[in-house]
């Protein structure tokens, strides 16, 4: 057998090389060389991102197990950039004495989940998909429990792994039903075999639950706030953006590629989920005092907006989905970055603690404000464009009522985002958070996020590039 075709998996191989290099470096390098561990790792990742950012022609290898389409390059690049931002933000945390020895683990585990997502995105078979899903989930649980002597973190880790395993087992059960009814697990063979028999519909529902869990849609969201709160903040931001971003893309491609015949079944399901996710999450977010829980609910509602793009099933929907994920990544990572730096230096994460933040930390407040405005969908920030495109994709298919419900929810979401802005800019405080000094990597991450928020919307090339490669039903 000729294995040379495997070499076409550029992204995966280059990531594996980086991972193994870092692992070896961490184990064998001396005290002096280890000082440069993080810069070296970040440079390698940046190189990896740059090398792999150009789309290639579509191909299928290993008998259809691994299918590549050019769009995947963009999705993977978005994930790469997000990971780099998260690692930049975690730089200081990992340089602390208590964490220095665990640094190698942190990088290795993060990159393993990333690798899992790569395989999940490019899978051409349900087994491959499942391997990817698990490779992404299990190291994730370890990361959530990274700060293992912290009771909350350990609890969050346990919660995450238990519910993740539960969800993926249901998903596997769904896959087995698909196999039972069609006799194959290859994505390329399935579309004609899935004809909409009751068994297949049931199989689809079971299968989709695993992904809904990952995307944390209501009612599969109950783990989200607790895990987000308990995990180290950088992990939380990774979880909220990278993990979610890959899952929504995979959901979209599977729905149109494999379950295209069930469109009349999955559209109402997604319709209901979108309405419930957006509304419930928004209502819950209003009452949150802990900013990490607050952003957890906000991210659930954001996932609901993404469903509007998925429900359209069109090429326009795919382009707006990928674009949404990109913009969401910049905005959410900026918000989490501010929260993480403040939590790390002062231990404060409550909304009340942020009172008067603008007086002491004008720059951080400014970044936070941009991020929240972008999440709320206010022009001229990128969030406005991404929301508009998502709504427009849904409206093009005639889902005006859904768009309307989503828009009403943007008002609720604006309300709670404004609560944070109010705390930072309007409220006065007796003892505001002292001036926090940001280190250089953190500053770089903020610069990247801010540039993203400001220019990804106004410069249309980004969207046009994505739209050129998108496909739909």
């Amino acid at each position: 057998m000729d294995y040379s075709s495997f070499l076409q998996m550029h992204e995966e191989f280059s990531l594996i090389v980086v991972m193994i290099f870092l692992l070896v470096y961490d184990i064998f390098a001396g005290e002096k060389a280890l000082k440069y561990f993080q810069p070296v790792a970040l440079l390698l990742l940046t190189a990896h991102t740059i090398i792999n950012c150009v789309p290639r022609d579509a191909f299928s290898i290993a008998g259809g197990m691994f299918q590549y389409v050019p769009m995947q390059t963009y999705v993977k690049s978005i994930l790469n950039v997000g990971t780099i931002i998260v690692l930049l933000q975690a730089h200081k945390f990992l340089n602390e004495d208590a964490n220095r020895i665990k640094r190698g683990e942190f990088y290795f585990l993060t990159l393993s989940t990333l690798l899992g997502m790569y395989f999940m995105i490019s899978s051409g078979n349900f087994l491959m998909f499942f391997i990817g899903l698990e490779t992404a989930s299990i190291p994730m649980a370890t990361l959530v429990a990274f700060d293992k002597y912290n009771r909350k973190s350990a609890e969050a880790g346990a919660k995450y792994i238990l519910s993740a395993v539960f969800a993926s087992s249901i998903s596997v059960f769904g896959m087995s039903l698909i196999y039972g009814s069609t006799g194959t697990l290859y994505f390329s063979d399935l579309p004609t075999l899935i004809t909409g028999t009751p068994l297949q519909i049931m199989a689809f529902v079971f299968f989709a639950v695993g992904l809904f869990f990952k995307i944390s849609l209501v009612p599969f969201h109950l783990w989200t706030p607790d895990v987000y709160e308990g995990a180290q903040t950088n992990i939380t931001s990774y979880l909220s953006v990278i993990s979610k971003g890959s899952a929504v893309f995979v959901l979209f491609t599977l729905l149109i590629k494999v379950f295209g015949n069930l469109v009349n079944q999955w559209q109402p399901i997604l319709y209901g989920l979108a309405v419930v996710s957006i509304t419930v999450a928004n209502v819950f977010a209003i009452r949150q005092q802990n900013l990490k829980r607050f952003l957890a609910f906000s991210s659930i509602s954001q996932a609901g907006y993404i469903l509007l793009a998925i429900i359209s099933g069109s090429a326009m929907g795919m382009a707006s989905l990928v674009y949404y994920v990109l913009v969401y990544m910049f905005s959410n990572l900026a918000a989490f970055g501010v929260i993480s730096v403040i939590e790390e230096r002062t231990g404060k994460v409550k909304m009340d603690d942020y009172n008067g933040l603008y007086q002491t930390n004008p720059r951080l407040s400014f970044v936070m404000m941009l991020a929240l405005f972008s999440l709320a969908g206010i022009p001229p920030f990128a969030g406005f464009f991404s929301k508009f495109f998502v709504f427009s994709a849904a409206a093009a298919q005639g889902y005006y009522v859904l768009v309307f419900i989503a828009l009403l929810n943007t008002i609720i979401s604006l309300y709670y985002y404004l609560l944070v802005i109010k705390a930072m800019f309007l409220n006065k405080s007796e003892n505001p958070i002292e001036t926090v000094k940001s280190d250089v990597p953190l500053k770089i991450s903020f610069v990247i996020c801010t540039l993203g928020i400001l220019f990804v919307g106004l410069v249309s090339t980004v969207y046009t590039q994505i739209a050129a490669l998108s496909f739909g039903m």
């Binding site: 382009a319 206010i378 093009a396 008002i411």
Partner: protein, 493 residues
């Protein structure tokens, strides 16, 4: 790059200038220069517009430019102006200019204040020059958000409540509007979001029935359409002076302008069918706003309710769907914009001295503050429609136009709306009598000083503009009238 985009570019440059300036002197220099440039620019544009029209250019929009922005959605950055936009740009420039001088000594954080103020003006200018639905909507939203911080940080009274209410209600309006816009775009099957292109197509009447009310109400929220007007009193009362001026003076006009340019122009059939319903709502706005103003004791609340009444009249006249009334509506936008800005400026100046806005605590100010007092009387007279001031011209045109309808419904409504003039006279004269004449209420007020140079500059500019429209209305109404014709043409189709 079209020179119309300068209207957006200059405030953007102002923001950059503010970003690097450190002292109050520099900040004042940047904003004053920017605002003056905008004034000059709008003057030049008006002149060029007249020249072009005189040369026989009969296109609907002049100076158009079009750049593809988001090709997959057919979103273009397209600009262009007609007579109505020219009038609105002039209005905006006057108010931005005077607003800068009215908040010359703003405290605290002057830099941040003017940053947001410039962003607000980007939104307003951009809205008036756009001819593309998407960019129009985008600028509309850009204009909404700075309000929250402007009111929340620099406002007075129940500012947090007012700011939140205003922001959320206006966002609610924009939610309606966005559905309307998407409906127009996909419903018409257009291959462009350009208003002029969509106007050539026909949106099926069934769809118009859904999307006309959404669009009209969306803009109506900003135009203080009853029952969505409640943000206006609370928001305006707690906003700082310049923001009240810009908001009541220009931003509320976005509502009327949008209803005219988008809702009625693009969906004329539904407009004809449903105008009766909205006419009743706007009729209520007109009368209710005026009555509510009588009961208020806070100067800003009085003026805010009077704005509800006057802006209601704008929408009322637009819905009359005939040439004269629509011309009157645009004139009313201009006239109300100027006089309400004057009112808010004066109220801010009086409040800055007396530290109260309650009319029960003031009296005899005419003797102490003669300049502000006289200006206040002029503003009041303009508001109640004294001939030779702008209010008269606008209201006269509106009511003449409305009475051209021969059926009972329209005539009765017109008569009801006309009663608001009397009610307006009641609250204006009552306030003027109470605070300006009579005995001095508070001994501390004896030592107040009259307006400073920058306040005078701001007030005088506004008064000149009011007189200009009132005493020589022909040039401006001619400007507007020509541009109302295309909409009438749509309605007659």
């Amino acid at each position: 790059m079209n020179f119309l985009s300068l209207f957006v570019l200059i405030p953007a440059l102002m923001m950059m200038g503010l970003f690097v300036s450190n002292s109050r002197k520099q900040i004042q220099f940047v904003v004053a220069t920017g605002a003056s440039l905008l004034m000059i620019l709008s003057g030049i544009i008006t002149y060029m517009y007249f020249i072009e029209r005189a040369a026989g250019n009969a296109a609907t929009m002049l100076f158009t430019a079009d750049t593809v922005w988001y090709a997959p959605f057919n979103i273009h950055y397209s600009v262009g102006i007609d007579g109505i936009s020219v009038a609105m740009l002039l209005l905006t420039s006057v108010i931005v200019f005077t607003g800068v001088f009215a908040s010359w000594k703003i405290d605290p954080l002057p830099k941040e204040f003017f940053l947001w103020y410039s962003l607000l003006s980007i939104g307003v200018y951009g809205f008036f020059i756009s001819t593309d639905l998407f960019t129009m909507f985008m600028y509309y939203e850009i204009a909404l958000i700075p309000m929250y911080l402007l009111i929340g940080v620099w406002g007075s009274g129940r500012k947090e409540y007012g700011a939140m209410k205003l922001t959320l209600m206006l966002m609610g309006g924009s939610a309606l509007l966005l559905v309307g816009i998407l409906g127009i775009y996909y419903g018409s099957g257009a291959t462009s979001m350009n208003i002029l292109e969509i106007a050539k197509l026909h949106i099926p009447i069934e769809l118009q029935r859904y999307f006309f009310p959404l669009t009209f109400m969306g803009f109506g929220v900003l135009g203080a359409l009853f029952p969505f007007h409640t943000w206006s009193p609370d928001g305006h009362a707690s906003a700082p002076t310049a923001v009240s001026m810009l908001h009541a003076g220009v931003l509320m006009k976005l509502g009327g302008y949008g209803a005219f340019r988008v809702a009625i122009y693009l969906m004329p059939d539904a407009a004809k069918e449903m105008s009766w319903f909205f006419l009743i709502l706007t009729g209520i706005s007109v009368v209710y706003g005026a009555f509510a103003a009588i009961r208020q004791t806070d100067l800003k609340y009085i003026n805010a309710y009077s704005s509800v009444s006057h802006c209601g009249l704008v929408l009322f006249a637009i819905l009359m769907l005939n040439e004269t009334a629509m011309t009157g509506a645009i004139l009313q936008m201009l006239s109300h914009g100027l006089m309400t800005a004057l009112f808010f400026a004066l109220i801010g100046m009086i409040y800055g001295r007396t530290h109260t806005r309650l009319i029960t605590e003031m009296g005899g100010l005419m003797k102490i503050l003669p300049f502000l007092g006289v200006s206040y009387v002029i503003a009041g007279l303009a508001s109640l429609g004294l001939p030779s001031l702008s209010g008269f011209v606008a209201e006269m045109t509106i009511f003449v136009g409305s009475f051209q309808h021969t059926d009972t419904f329209h005539r009765v409504l017109t008569i009801v709306a006309i009663t608001s003039i009397v009610i307006t006279a009641v609250y204006i004269l009552r306030v003027v009598g109470k605070i300006l004449f009579g005995a001095v209420q508070d001994a501390h007020h004896e030592h107040l000083t009259d307006a400073t140079w920058y306040e005078r500059l701001s007030v005088v500019t506004l008064i000149i503009a009011i007189f200009a429209i009132g005493s020589a209305p022909f040039w401006i109404s001619g400007l507007i009238h020509d541009s109302v014709i295309p909409v009438i043409g749509q309605l007659a189709k």
